[in-house]
Amino acid sequence: MTALAPPGSAYGLRHVLYPYDTADQYLAGTLAYIDQAHTYGAAVLIAVPEVRRDLLQSHLNGHSVAFLDTGALGRNPGRLIPAWQEWIAEHQRDGRTVHAVSESTWTGRSAAELSELRYHEWLLNRAFAQAPAWSLLCPYDTSDQPADSVQTLGRMHQWLWDGADCVPGTDYDPGPYPFEPYGEPCDPYEEIPYTGGDLAALRRKVAACAHAHQLPRQRLHDLQLAVTEIAANSIRYGGGSGTLRIWIQDGAMVCELRDTGVIADPLAGRIRPTPAQSGGRGLWFANQVCDLVEIRSNESEGTHIRLHVDLLHE
């Protein structure tokens, strides 16, 4: 089977990578995907940058699609999975299958953001493994990207879209995910050990650094909340103590919190907590208020979490 039939399994994500290098190719291939989706009676959801949205809108020829507003989500890929969960649930209510298009912006982003975007693509497979089946096309502009980037992204996509048909991807690797190692903190940085009773002191340290770099007040509150949550997790679950490091990098204030605990669930902080859920809100808050959250966690090195808040973001 090569055509984009409705997903054969009742569960799981059909995750399709579409590498392209011209606007014409983008338009032709994406419209072909939408055409096929409509043939199968699927609901079509589109989450793309504004320039792509305008291009698609002018060529849809009356096809009914829903454009999703991703602007409110900001740049943090950690907010995308819960957003997709809500969008998909909303459009699957009437029993229709969902075929979606999602294009991330891969240019003008820091190495840390690109790394998290790639990880997000891998996590999508896991997040929807037990969910009702749906299909997601990920157009990827190769024209200004490294030559090996398609292969890298191919690891996270089981399928490739060739512009007309869906074919199995040859680079797909379900895991474990090969995390890229963190870079060193930028100098100068502050390092503050903490344990129970130190949360207020940590917030004061964050405030002092934020004031020195003119971080807007609301963003300081965001960062203080995130640091409080992650440090509290260290105290509760991460061996009772940890270390905070603060520095400025790529136009953002970065707070790194390290402890000896292990976060076993790769989706921690990316699933909206239920009202009845008693815990599990700390990382969720961090993802919702920070511009980027990076997590590295394993048995040998413990957990290192980096919280980024853009200095110029209002």
């Binding site: 129970g196 203080q224 909340l225 949550e229 809100r281």
Partner: protein
Amino acid sequence: METTAFPVLEPGEHACWLVRTVGEFADGAGQFLGHGARTGDKTLVIAAPCAASRAADQLSSVTFLDPRTPAGARDLVARTVRQEALRAGREGYRALRVLAQMETITPPGTGLDDLVEHELSLQDLTAGTATSVVCAYRQDLWDAPLLRGLTALHSWHVPADEHAAGFRMTPTGPGCWVLSGAVDYDETRSFAALLRAALARSRSLRLDCRGLELIDAAGLKVLTDAARVPGARIRVEGVTSTVARTWRLSGYGDAGLNMELLP
């Protein structure tokens, strides 16, 4: 020797003094008497005998009370404070100020809930009156996290930045409280104890949160657990945009609790 510089004690205030040494208490009690004499207040010192109490015997404006043993001391203290407040009014004093050496009223080792209840009964003696109370806790006799929690329900404490809770929760009327500062995981034990005490007095609570700068997931959990107490109804007023956002993100708003947040 450690010394304490007391802030001005206004009528109706309920303050906390975390005493580092026995000598510091004696010195501070002397200061307390001196302040009272200068401001025209009547003074009640509840303490074991010390230099200050001996000096107090010489002053007509000062009453000294040694409960001898904490057993039954709470009732004795409450009676005495009320009597002295009435006397102060009759005799033309501006106010009554009380210094209580807490180990003489309640034994060290008392649990947080019991201490909170006791503190609230002292607070009741000041509410709507010209009586002010300073609760002196010796740091070598009491558990440090417990003392930290207790500072939350006092209008101020000395030393200023030592062993202090990051938040304040003080009563302003029946079922009405002001909650300010930051409630985080470090504060959950004392925050929960204060909410339990507040709900024991009134199942309907109004929390004025205009000064609440931050509440984290652990603090929200404590607040929502309180709202799950049978019959509890909690109205959270004056929330800042930061707190409102945290609440919205938490999802607790859809938990069907008898609790509302208002700007």
